[in-house]
């Protein structure tokens, strides 16, 4: 075996960037074996070992900065939630990425994404003024002093044509339920959750700082998010920066509306539906029951649990910046998800996250299963049932 150079400065730098718990690791390897990468074949699966990557970080040994390794983690949280030592593995990943990205070494695939965030306040190269384009055909109120909730629509659903339908259906449901809400619009910035996860701390601080200033200036007290990623970031990242809002995911609000009878699903479809737990809704935020209760509120729907569900849910591979990754067919987690749903006998695979919808739709198409399985956002299934 070749000798390895231990760089103490690198080790200290990584800790300084936020990997405060990296030295708690006792090298048991549970993380590596709960990692979704073990479920797929291919080069990344062979090269990326989260335990080993952290070991390199612990010692400041080079090798972790390889793009295939450093940017492989989708921050699904399966390892972190089960780590026997409580190591904050995602913070370590983030810090190790920040130690490289902070020095200007951004993977080529991420450069336009981060650049667009700097220029347009969203990662999708969409002009700022198009942020409210999803509202066309709807009468969405502006957030103001008289509105209770600020509806923060994920950039993905502001710019991606497929994803706009999610924003539309969520807004429609909130309106039907009589919720007092409004949108700020073009001044909003991306929450920056993924930017922070890929290690661009500077960009995250810029986006978050601007959002906090804007939201507070507009008098925001309560936020409904469409995406679990924005939810998590507002509740955790932004809270660290002093933001003090009541933040909920739309599934939580809708659950209340249905319980109170303000929305009453009346479908006759009788479809078999599986629910895919988004990592940032389930494992990261502990919301498992609300989306299931919404599904069950639809008469005639048969809910089929996937093999890996709730705390054991398998990531769609869209978190941690992976939504911008290029993964060969046959190595995508979403494909396993789609196959599981088909095997379960589901006709619809519903989820509650724009990234998941994106990743699962790609997987469904690449497997050519679109005739037997429909990928839907939960809000769309609900709108259909009204």
């Amino acid at each position: 075996m070749e000798p390895k150079n231990i760089l103490l400065e690198m080790k200290d730098y990584i800790v300084e960037m936020g990997a405060e718990t990296i030295n708690w690791c006792m090298q048991c390897g549970l993380c590596t074996n709960l990692c979704p990468w073990r479920l797929v074949p291919g080069q990344t699966s062979e090269e990326f070992n989260i335990r080993h990557m952290q070991r390199l970080g612990q010692m400041g040994i080079e090798g972790f900065e390889d793009e295939n390794i450093l940017f492989a983690c989708s921050t699904c949280g399966m390892c972190q939630n089960n780590c026997p030592r409580g190591v904050k593995i995602i913070d370590n990943v983030k810090a190790m990425r920040a130690s490289i990205v902070g020095g200007g070494m951004v993977p080529a695939g991420l450069r336009p994404i981060l650049g667009s965030c700097h220029a347009n306040g969203n990662p999708w190269s969409g002009p700022r003024e198009n942020r409210t384009k999803w509202q066309e055909g709807l009468d969405i109120p502006q957030f103001g002093p008289d509105t209770e909730y600020f509806l923060f629509v994920c950039c993905h659903s502001c710019y991606d044509p497929r994803s706009m339908k999610i924003a539309k259906s969520i807004a429609t449901l909130l309106q039907k339920g009589g919720v007092s809400f409004g949108v700020i619009g073009v001044e909003e910035n991306c929450c920056g959750e993924s930017m922070r996860k890929v290690g661009d701390e500077e960009l995250f601080q810029k986006l978050a700082g601007a959002n906090i200033e804007l939201f507070n200036a507009k008098g925001v007290k309560k936020i409904i998010t469409t995406s679990p990623h924005c939810l998590w970031s507002f509740k955790n990242d932004y809270a660290q920066l002093g933001a003090d809002w009541e933040v909920v995911h739309y599934t939580e609000i809708l659950g209340k509306l249905i319980a109170e009878g303000k929305i009453a699903p009346v479908t006759k479809s009788g479809k078999k539906v599986s629910f895919h737990d988004p990592c940032y809704l389930g494992r990261h935020s502990g919301i498992y029951d609300a989306p299931r209760e919404l599904l069950r509120s639809i008469p005639g729907i048969e809910v089929k649990e996937l093999e890996r569900s709730r705390e054991l849910s398998l990531c769609c591979a869209g978190g941690g910046g992976r939504i911008w990754g290029e993964v060969p067919m046959g190595e995508r987690f979403g494909e396993l998800r789609v196959l599981d749903a088909v095997e379960t006998g589901a006709e619809v695979l519903a989820t509650a996250c724009p990234y998941c919808v994106n990743m699962l739709t790609d997987a469904c198409n690449s497997l050519n299963k679109q005739d037997v399985l429909e990928i839907r956002e939960l809000s769309e299934v609900l709108v259909d049932s009204l």
Partner: protein
């Protein structure tokens, strides 16, 4: 009862496992009255359900039998089975203890003839075998049970079956109208020996226990290997009864894990090494894999660890397994683990996976019914700063093996005597 009782000369022992038994006989042999209260219908607790135990690896029956004889021969010990301590009031030297006695529906006239069992039709899960076998609704808890007396399951009470059971007894021992009762006793000290429960391995979701039949806990493994167990001692797969050849032990299943039990349960490494020998002794072509974080074979048992390690059929792999999956067609269970010494990921099938479940004190689930008892973060009864006269012992005080529990019980008796004398 209270008339014959001098509280300053009486020690109440809650729990009739090895800790409580040891405490009871030691206290009685020092001249104190003892009331031994056991929740189950028999004495011996978890030890009675083991195949073999350290240090001599003998079956538990002989050790228990010696204790039972000491109890039988000592009129100072009063045994109450199917009984639970409900409340403890008063102070050191003068406690009043409320005890609930559940109906056994069989009185002391029982000779153990078994006619009642023959008359019973209903089968119920056998508690003694952790539900892997069944017993009739009139049953002897196990063949060496003390007291050697049948029990009628409450499920059949009030049915014609119960009448048939009662009619079958030639000694007037079956009393289907027996009712639950509460009694109060006086005691100068209380020794709490409620024992332990194996950590609920189904809470470790990624190991699939409870979902996969061939993923079992270490306590179940003791029954699988016992001659009076569900497979007559031939270690077999719960799914299909097929003899086990290839076995995996997963250490620290719940222990040393902040999400489960943050402490080391201290006995599981040696328990798995011991259980490995069960299979090695009965299958010449056995293959044993032990997956560990590190092996903690404490004290004198290092030699035992060495002996097992040197067996060519044993493989020790440093690494904490991740997911366990089952092939529903064959019942084979696949363990995936990263060997920390080679960095290679292993993915292998086994007939049976034994999870070395950690020890949780019974007091983590059911507290001592007295106000002000002090526990640590994990529910163990602490000694320092404790209410005088209430003494936690054995696995209610810390995870422990049988021999140190016995020593602990003896020490607890001295504390109890001091409390009575105060």
């Amino acid at each position: 009862m209270a008339d014959a009782q001098d509280s300053a000369r009486t020690i109440l022992v809650a729990g009739g496992g090895i800790a409580g038994l040891s405490a009871a006989v030691e206290a009685a042999e020092a001249g104190f009255q003892v009331i031994l209260v056991e929740r189950e219908p028999y004495l011996g607790g978890r030890v009675a359900r083991m195949n073999k135990y350290f240090p001599k690896l003998c079956p538990p029956q002989c050790g228990l039998e010696i204790n039972f004889r000491r109890i039988r021969n000592n009129p100072l010990i009063q045994v109450m089975t199917m009984a639970e301590v409900e409340k403890i009031e008063g102070e050191s030297g003068d406690f009043t203890v409320g005890i609930r006695v559940n109906p056994r529906y069989v009185n002391e006239k029982c000779t153990g003839c078994g006619k009642c069992s023959e008359a019973a039709q209903t089968s119920i899960p056998n508690f003694f075998d952790y539900g892997m076998s069944t017993v009739k609704a009139a049953y002897l808890p196990h063949e060496f049970a003390y007291p050697m007396r049948y029990v009628i399951a409450p499920q059949v009470i009030g049915t014609p079956e119960a009448q048939a059971i009662e009619a079958a007894c030639e000694y007037g021992a079956v009393e289907t109208d027996m009712a639950q009762k509460s009694v109060e006793v006086k005691a100068g000290a209380v020794i709490w020996a409620a024992g332990w429960t194996p950590y609920d391995i189904s809470a470790i979701a990624y190991y699939g226990a409870g979902k996969y039949r061939n993923v079992v806990s270490n306590v179940v493994m003791e029954r699988l290997a016992s001659v009076n167990g569900p497979f007559k001692g031939i270690i077999s797969r719960p799914s299909d009864g097929k003899a086990v050849k290839k076995i995996a032990f997963v250490q620290c299943a719940g222990s040393r894990d902040e999400n489960h039990l943050a402490y080391c349960s201290s006995v599981c490494c040696l328990a798995s090494l011991k259980q490995a020998t069960y299979l090695l002794d009965q299958q010449a072509d056995a293959e044993v894999s032990i997956f560990y974080i590190d092996i903690r074979a404490l004290g004198r048992q290092e030699a035992f660890f060495e002996k097992v390690r040197q067996d060519e059929r044993v493989r020790l792999v440093k690494g904490k397994p991740g997911e366990i999956t089952e092939d529903p067609a064959t019942g084979m269970v696949t363990v995936q683990v990263e060997d920390q010494q080679t960095g290679k990921t292993l993915r292998e099938q086994f007939d049976l996976v034994v999870l070395a479940a950690g020890m949780a004190p019974a007091t983590s689930q059911q507290k001592i019914p007295a106000s002000g008892v002090v526990y640590d973060d994990f529910g163990f009864v602490v000694s320092k700063g404790q209410i005088p006269g209430i003494i936690g012992v054995g696995c209610d005080r810390r995870p422990a093996d049988v021999s140190s529990t016995v020593q602990d019980a003896t020490a607890a008796v001295l504390k109890a005597i001091q409390a009575c004398r105060r």
